[in-house]
């Protein structure tokens, strides 16, 4: 017979669960509220969501670094804290985009907000663990919510997007589980710290390399899909096009942060073991990704789709930093995404503001370049702001993304990968073209529309968001230092 198990409540360290629980409970509250009164306006839910996330944010801030909890399933180290903060922060910034002046389908569902919170909880679980099971379940929770949120936009394209994302996600899940199985077979464990320990003893065993490589590849496929590395990126443009602009912007940042955290944990482990093969595979994939996505973005006719490719390219950029496996490299991942987030938030919000229910300018696209032509004459401020976002994305100083780029490149140089830094530089140059294209349309062409059509969706809260994003993009230089030192501290504290 088994002996009874005594577990003290303190040893569980339940506080590590608190942030996720807050999100989950918040989601449940919303569901209950809807049950009680189904006539409530979306603004209530938006604000509730923000409030819940606010508490969540506070709870994460209150966590101590490097703690484990709940039978060591939960892992609260530096990167889990900063990634949770970024996930929550990003979510807080994107959810007010629901407050458009026009009604959109998904926001008429209170469940949308519940799912949104569940998704955040999923991401939080995913990043706050080194147990492959919890990572998998958290990932799937978040993904399933995300698929639904995409589909809730409720038009043909969004179904198509959801199906594509879903199907490929299922395939990726298959690879992830297979990879986990190999790891499990190799080490008898699926907890990464344990896996690392065992692998370190086994890494030199003859004939085993194929399994180690194989496991890394299988996991890489799964995360390359999430992060959107070539050739697993194909879903991105379609999903972004099909999804609503806020969600597309959201997807370009938040899920990727979560995926990157797990990647740091997994591939960092391989790199620490001295499996150089993984490094080169990632580097090569990253380089192909950023180049190819850039090239494909050149020929896009739709701004949102262009931004989708651009986000693939940015992801490749950051993935390369991951392969460096230095503290700076890992810091740069978060720094980049933090800075990228503000800019992307702004850019997608601008798209959202200009979104029409009818496709006025093109049979297919919501945001063809033509829509923005001559914007500077009809809405100079909007054009300037959008221009700033584009320049920021192109990596023109002093806007936010530049600081991320330079930090990544510096990390590459410091790690001895000067060629990588040069490729990054050249890619930025290619990328500049398609960002410029929008600027060219906005500033250098004559208007074909009046201000009304572009500011169709404008509402006060969207303006606030835009203002915030602009300030954060322009004023990046003033907060980069604290951001870097905080990130660097947190990451080095957790040993990455």
């Amino acid at each position: 017979m088994l002996s009874p198990i005594n577990v003290s409540l303190e040893s569980l360290n339940l506080i590590t669960l608190a942030p996720m629980l807050i999100a989950v409970v918040g989601g449940l509250i919303i569901l209950v509220l809807d049950l009680l009164n189904n006539k409530l306006h979306k603004s209530l839910y938006v604000m509730l969501t923000i409030l819940v996330l606010f508490i969540d944010f506070g709870a994460v801030l209150g966590l101590n670094v490097n703690e484990r909890g709940f039978f060591d399933v939960m892992l609260i180290d530096g990167i889990s804290i900063i990634s949770q903060l970024m996930v929550i922060g990003g979510s807080m910034m994107f959810i007010p985009l629901a407050l458009t002046s026009k009604k959109f389908h998904e926001y008429s569902y209170p469940e949308f907000f519940a799912l949104f919170l569940f998704m955040i909880a999923g991401f939080q679980f995913m990043v706050a663990s080194d147990n492959l099971i919890l990572i998998f379940v958290g990932l799937e929770t978040a993904s399933l919510s995300l698929y639904t949120l995409i589909a809730l936009h409720n038009r043909a394209n969004s179904y198509e997007a959801a199906v594509k994302y879903f199907t490929m996600g299922a395939l990726a899940a298959g690879f992830f589980t297979m990879g986990s199985a190999v790891i499990y077979a190799l080490t008898g464990s699926i907890e990464l710290y344990k896996v690392a320990e065992v692998l370190a003893t086994r890494v030199n065993e003859t004939g085993l390399m194929i399994a180690i490589f194989g496991s890394s590849v299988l996991l890489l496929v799964a995360f390359a899909f999430k992060i959107s590395l070539f050739p697993f990126h194909t879903w991105v443009p379609d999903v972004y096009e099909g999804a609503s602009a806020p969600l597309a912007g959201y997807m370009s940042v938040v899920p990727k942060i979560a995926a990157f955290v797990v990647s740091i944990r997994i591939f960092g482990m391989y790199l620490d073991l001295g499996v150089e093969w993984v490094r080169w595979t990632i580097l090569i994939l990253a380089v192909i990704t950023m180049t190819l996505a850039n090239i494909m973005a050149l020929v896009q006719n739709d701004v949102k789709r262009m931004l989708a490719y651009s986000s693939i390219s940015h992801a490749g950029f950051i993935m390369a930093a991951l392969a460096l496996d230095t503290t700076e490299g890992n810091t740069s991942i978060f720094l980049y995404y933090a800075l990228f987030m503000f800019t992307n938030l702004g850019a997608f919000t601008m798209l959202w503001i200009s979104r029409h229910k009818k496709r006025i300018f093109d049979t297919r696209y919501d945001h063809p370049y033509e829509k923005f032509s001559g914007l500077v004459q009809t809405m100079p401020m909007a054009a300037v702001i959008m221009g700033i976002f584009m320049l920021s994305l192109a990596g023109v100083p002093p806007f936010s993304v530049f600081w991320g780029k330079i930090y990544v490149m510096q990390a590459a140089v410091n790690a001895g990968y000067i060629w990588l830094a040069i490729i990054m530089g050249l890619n930025s140059a290619i990328a500049a073209y398609y960002y410029l294209k929008l600027i060219v349309y906005m500033f250098l062409k004559d208007p074909v529309q009046d201000a009304e059509t572009v500011s169709y969706n404008m509402s006060r809260s969207l303006m606030v968001i835009i203002g915030f994003a602009t300030a954060a993009t322009v004023g990046a230089i003033f907060y980069v230092q604290p951001l870097i030192s905080y990130l660097y501290y947190m990451i080095s504290a957790s040993g990455y």
Partner: protein, 508 residues
């Protein structure tokens, strides 16, 4: 006012921001006033500048990102001082003479931002701040070319942007690598140029880094074979765009060589003398010939600009005070002269909406003032003594003669070829019979145009006759630079090549 440099940098930017609320009709007056104040400020800078000292003055340093070693670090020495003044001057005059009326407010705001970035480049002592302003300067220029330019303006502006952007990204990698070396040697992150100067790099590192910086600067200069963006940029840009582009933006490249390449990589610079000289020769001769083949007046001046930049490049690599001072002086002179020439072309373009030489002829009879000022600028452009153009060109050739007589002689053909294409312009535009009916009713320069050109004429002559007030501070800084390079150089060849001026020279 120890922080005058910051004021200089940010005053136009703040003014630009406020400019958004200015009424459209008053925008130009506002812009001119701001530019005038800025110009006065820059004069004040000169006034309070200690011309006897060769080092950096008005230094300000505010750490921005200490973890990366990035700080707001500015200062000016004799080399940058006058480029700053030229920048403010050309902005003021360009703006005052501007005949543009379309979207004038946007233009003014853009110009003010552009002014900020230009001054920023010349005062920056932190590589990243330098890079920041460097890149940022592309944006207003892109807008100016693209929004007010000719039929191919979009192509031209994008080409301009992407080309320079690509080059500068390579340069950025170089900067990052220098910072990395600095860090690995000292354990401290720093992008301060003055800190970097202390680095003694092995020769092979120097060569690679030199190459990285070279690409960035060479595209901006623009050196052959990276020059092809400039005919488009000039050809399509509105007058004010060409003026600023030629007068100031191109100088950023050559200034970069002075600020970065020479002091940081003395050995590599010495090794690069021959390749750079050959490229410069190609620039000088080849583009001068291309200029001769042009049909469009503005294109002639655009290509001539490249040709003159070749002279400047040559001087930079003369490795002696004569050549280097001459080169810096030539930057100023080219700025003023080519700026004025572009303005002149712009004035004729406004009247006739064409820049083709074949459309003109005999203009001297209907527009005598115009012809006179054009003639003065032409003569300055071909380097007539007692005009500003001679001093620099002469010193450069003099300086480089010590390095290579043959190259100097070939480069010296610029005084011939320059005359060839410029006189051709003069002949086909101003001389000959006044055949074209449309030209017969052309009005001579109006008051605005005349008075915006007269200061330039005055400067052209003043600095041609008495360049000392400008040349002396430049020379001081250049001598200090050469001394520094000589001390820092590792190889004997480099030490031999770098010729430090001695105040008491032994007579053979």
């Amino acid at each position: 006012m120890e922080n005058i440099l910051s004021i200089l940098v940010f005053f136009p930017a703040v003014a630009g921001l406020l400019g958004f609320v200015i009424d459209k009709d008053s925008a130009k007056a506002y812009g001119v006033t701001v530019a005038a104040i800025e110009f006065l400020l820059s004069l004040w800078l000169w006034f309070s500048f200690d011309t006897a000292s060769a080092g950096m003055q008005f230094v300000e340093m505010i750490p921005l990102i200490p973890d990366m070693g990035i700080s707001y670090y500015v200062g000016a020495d004799g080399i940058s001082l006058f480029i700053i003044i030229m920048t403010t001057l050309m902005t003021l005059i360009g703006m005052a003479s501007m005949g543009e009326t379309k979207n004038i407010k946007n233009m003014i705001v853009t110009l003010l931002f552009l002014e900020m970035t230009m001054i920023g480049v010349f005062v920056a002592l932190d590589a990243i701040i330098f890079y920041l302003f460097w890149e940022l300067s592309l944006v207003p220029m892109l807008y100016i070319i693209g929004a007010w330019g000719g039929p191919l303006r979009v192509y031209a502006s994008i080409k301009f942007f992407l080309y320079t952007f690509t080059g500068s990204l390579i340069m950025l990698v170089g900067m990052l690598f220098v910072a990395y070396i600095y860090h690995s040697l000292t354990g401290v992150w720093s992008f301060a140029i003055t800190d970097w100067y202390a680095l003694v790099l092995p020769v092979d590192y120097q060569l690679w880094l030199f190459a990285a910086f070279f690409i960035g600067f060479a595209i901006k200069v623009p050196m052959f074979p990276f020059h092809t963006w400039i005919p488009y940029a000039h050809g399509q840009a509105p007058t004010i765009g060409s003026v600023i582009l030629a007068a100031v933006l191109l100088k950023m490249g050559t200034y970069g060589f002075v600020r970065f390449s020479l002091p940081m990589f003395p050995d590599a610079s010495v090794m690069a003398i021959t390749p750079v000289a050959v490229l410069s020769l190609i620039m000088i001769v080849y583009t001068a010939m291309i200029a001769y083949a042009q049909k469009d007046i503005k294109q002639v001046i655009a290509y001539s600009s490249v040709s003159h930049m070749g002279i400047i490049m040559l001087g930079l690599f003369a490795m002696n005070a004569e050549g280097l001072s001459g080169s810096v002086f030539q930057m100023l002179s080219h700025g003023i002269v080519s700026g004025a020439l572009f303005m002149l072309v712009g004035m004729i373009y406004e009247r006739r909406h064409t820049k083709l030489m074949s459309e003109f002829g005999g203009l001297a009879s209907v527009m005598p003032k115009f012809a006179v000022i054009f003639g003065v600028m032409l003569m300055a452009s071909v380097g007539l003594p007692l005009t500003i153009g001679f001093v620099g060109e002469f010193l450069v050739l003099l300086g480089f003669y010590q390095v290579s007589p043959i190259i100097t002689i070939i480069a010296g053909t610029s005084i011939i070829l320059g005359a060839v294409y410029m006189l051709r312009v003069m002949k086909f535009t101003f001389f000959g019979p006044l055949n074209n009916e449309e030209n017969k009713k052309l009005k001579d320069l109006n008051r605005r145009e005349t008075w915006s050109l007269i200061p330039l004429v005055a400067i052209v002559i003043w600095l041609g006759v008495y360049p000392k007030p400008v040349l002396e501070p430049i020379d001081n800084s250049v001598k200090a630079l050469l001394n520094f390079m000589d001390e820092k150089a590792l190889t004997k060849e480099a030490k031999d090549m770098i010729r430090v001026a001695k105040s008491s020279k032994e007579v053979k």
